[in-house]
């Protein structure tokens, strides 16, 4: 082996983790650039709230504003989510342990997994669903909450839940999970969060020229209305599949983090990830099952 070769290898060994992360980031971007041209079968419903206002008014306001960017309408949404994928990955890196001694490899690996996760890839850049953006807000909120920065955390959570109202249920679940330890002050923050979420919906709806009441109700329509057809669900299986779709991304990402923090086993996290992947795959490439 040549001397220069040995030097280069030892340099690569020293910086291996960061080279891995940089390469993953670059390849993730490259893949997203290719797939951004692919359209999911239900592509029309991104820009259509139907007469029932199925999706949140804040989401439609955001989509409307994104159309002013000098890119194709669909690409603007997709790139918004694509960037959010990277933000979520960075936040997951912090949540798993960041640069702490002994946790560096695990955190870096999870960062790579988040960037290249097929679940994030399918749900985000392929399907243009904004889960990553909303989840990013909530994850940021959780990290700040743990650092006792409650006001900023609540503000971030408001953005996340307003964008994706079904996540309000997740926040409630999280509050109830640690019920014994929660002081009353925390519940006040939750009350503010819920009220602000509805308020943001109403204001967004008004900005879009919709009635206040209709916009506020859009916060809960995700539970019973099909976002593509705009009609109430008629079949239980379809409803279950849609709910799995709505919560799947969050479950997959949270599952991974929980496994890295030894809250659940890696097998369970992998099973969740694969199950969500199968649900997304079955919707996007319908030959499955």
């Amino acid at each position: 082996m040549l001397k220069i070769e040995k030097k280069m290898i030892s340099w690569a060994e020293r910086h291996m983790l960061w080279l891995l992360v940089a390469l993953a980031a670059a390849l993730g971007l490259y893949l997203r650039k290719i797939v951004v041209w692919w359209g999911a079968p239900d592509i029309n419903c991104y820009f259509d709230s139907h007469e029932n206002n199925v999706q949140s008014a804040f989401y439609y306001l955001l989509i409307h504003l994104m159309q002013y960017l000098p890119v194709l309408p669909l690409h603007s949404v997709k790139w918004l989510v694509g960037i959010a994928d990277y933000i979520v990955a960075a936040l997951c890196f912090v949540a798993v342990g960041g640069l702490k001694d002994g946790l560096k490899i695990k955190s870096a690996f999870y960062l790579v997994v988040c960037i290249l996760s097929p679940v994030a890839f399918l749900r985000g850049i392929c399907w243009a669903q904004v889960d990553a953006l909303a989840f990013g807000f909530l994850l940021g909120a959780w990290i700040l909450w743990e650092k006792e920065k409650r006001a900023v955390a609540t503000a971030l959570a408001i953005c996340g839940t307003a964008l994706y109202p079904c996540f309000l249920l997740l926040v409630l679940g999280w509050m109830l999970w640690g019920k014994e330890k929660r002081p009353g002050k925390d519940w006040i923050y939750f009350g503010i969060l819920a009220a602000a979420c509805y308020l943001v919906q109403g204001i967004s709806g008004l900005a879009m020229g919709q009635a206040w009441r209709e916009s506020v109700v859009s916060c809960v329509r995700w539970a019973s209305y099909d976002p593509c057809l705009g009609t109430a669900y008629q079949e239980l299986l379809l409803w279950v599949k849609q709910m799995a779709g709505l919560f799947g991304y969050g479950a997959a990402m949270t599952g991974g983090m929980a496994a890295c923090r030894h809250r659940i086993s890696y097998v369970a996290a992998l099973a969740i990830h694969l199950a969500v992947l199968l649900v997304y795959g079955s919707i996007l490439f319908p030959v499955l099952i």
């Binding site: 082996m1 040549l2 070769e5 291996m16 983790l17 490899i105 890839f121």
Partner: protein, 389 residues
């Protein structure tokens, strides 16, 4: 029982070799679909051509190295079905020899090298997948896999030139031999016993294997043109090997094919990082596991995989089970699933759902991944570094 003297060792090897040949001979007259549609017509075409110039007129999609072997077989006074199968069978023995050497080396750490070597040899030669592949179907997997494993063995013994020549011939035989390269590159980073310049022997070996074809009138770059043609030949995510893409058959290859390649590449890279960063002193039996894992990663995550492309893992994992009891069930399951896949596709057995086969393969793959990664990660967490053995 386990301590085996030299004479017993060779006696057992002889018995195993005869048994392996008997198993293959039972299917020697069987004509698989690939034999009828491809190999036999190619053989006849080369025979009619008569000279090396027939190689230039070859229209099939196999590499010229294998076609040259087919041409040489036309000069042998034997029925094509037997002569073609005998070449594959011969390389079954080469593969068995290479795996036996690795197993003996691994077993020497416990003083039972010969016992493990004989067991490994038996497991390769009597592996149903290997028997069906070469003895029944006249496929050439044993050739590239045998050469690749031999190359790996030479590299692990710090004989890089021989190793690279073997790898070059394996690649010249079939592009799928590239599945062994990740572990070779990991060895390069970890052991630091050979230079990157040694890799240059690979294209030289590929070129040497094409000399008869070039003399026959093929272009100088014929080997590489074949690779490029093959890479875009079947633009499908799923191509009969029950891997993860079985569940995403309808995903368009032109968009998602690259994503699959990147996924496989990053999985291998993460493994390489763990491998290098871990403080473990890797034993020879660990290398066997890593060979099985890296080759299986390629077969499970890359797009457009044929039924036969996981061949190396299918013959190596049962040998890993000799050293590690926990692999017995996964190894048996992998061989069974592969045999079912072969049977459904080539032998006229009633086909088993590819979703079920894919789910089974994925379970085995994830188990193997967990075993390999967890062992290495433990070393990383301890934060110790030791010099490679």
């Amino acid at each position: 029982m386990r301590g085996m003297n030299r004479r017993t060792f060779f006696f057992v090897l002889g018995v195993i070799s005869i048994l392996g040949m008997v198993l293959r001979w039972t299917g020697i007259r069987f004509e698989g679909v690939d034999y009828r549609v491809c190999l036999e017509p190619w053989y006849q075409q080369l025979k009619e051509g008569g000279t090396l110039a027939a190689l230039a007129g070859y229209e099939g999609d196999y590499n010229l190295f294998y076609v040259t072997i087919l041409y040489l077989l036309t000069l042998v006074p034997a029925e094509p079905i037997i002569s073609i199968k005998m070449v594959s069978i011969l390389f079954d023995y080469v593969a068995a020899f290479a795996v036996m050497q690795v197993a003996m080396s691994a077993g020497e750490e416990t003083g039972k090298g010969r016992f493990y070597g004989a067991l490994a040899c038996g497991l390769v030669l009597c592996n149903p997948v290997a028997v069906i592949n070469s003895g029944y179907l006249a496929q050439s997997e044993s050739i590239w896999a045998g050469l690749a494993l031999l190359g790996f063995w030479y590299l692990s013994q710090e004989k890089p030139v021989r190793g690279m020549w073997m790898l070059g011939f394996a690649l010249a035989m079939k592009l799928q031999a590239v599945f062994i390269l990740p572990i070779v590159l990991i060895l390069y980073f970890y052991k630091k016993t050979f230079s990157i310049l040694h890799l240059l022997w690979i294209p030289i070996a590929i070129q040497v294997s094409c000399i008869p074809a070039i003399i026959g009138g093929c272009g100088f770059d014929v080997a590489y043109r074949t690779y490029f043609r093959l890479m875009g030949e079947y633009p499908f995510m799923y191509y009969y090997y029950p891997n993860i893409w079985t569940f995403f058959k309808e995903a368009p290859y032109y968009l998602f094919g690259k994503a699959a390649i990147v996924l496989a590449f990053m999985a291998l890279l993460m493994f390489a990082v763990l491998f290098v960063q871990s403080g473990r002193r890797h034993a020879m039996k660990d290398y066997l596991e890593y060979v099985a894992w890296t080759t299986m990663t390629c077969a499970m995550l890359l797009p457009c995989m044929h039924e036969r492309y996981n061949y190396i893992a299918e013959i190596v994992l049962p040998v890993c089970a000799v050293f590690e009891k926990k692999y017995r069930v996964p190894a048996a399951a992998l061989v069974l699933l592969s045999a079912l896949c072969y049977g459904g596709s080539y032998l006229g057995w009633s086909p088993v759902s590819h979703y079920a086969l894919a789910a089974g393969n994925l379970l085995i793959y994830f188990y193997l991944t967990w075993k390999c990664f967890y062992g290495l990660y433990d070393g990383c967490r301890a934060g110790k570094r030791v010099e490679p053995c």
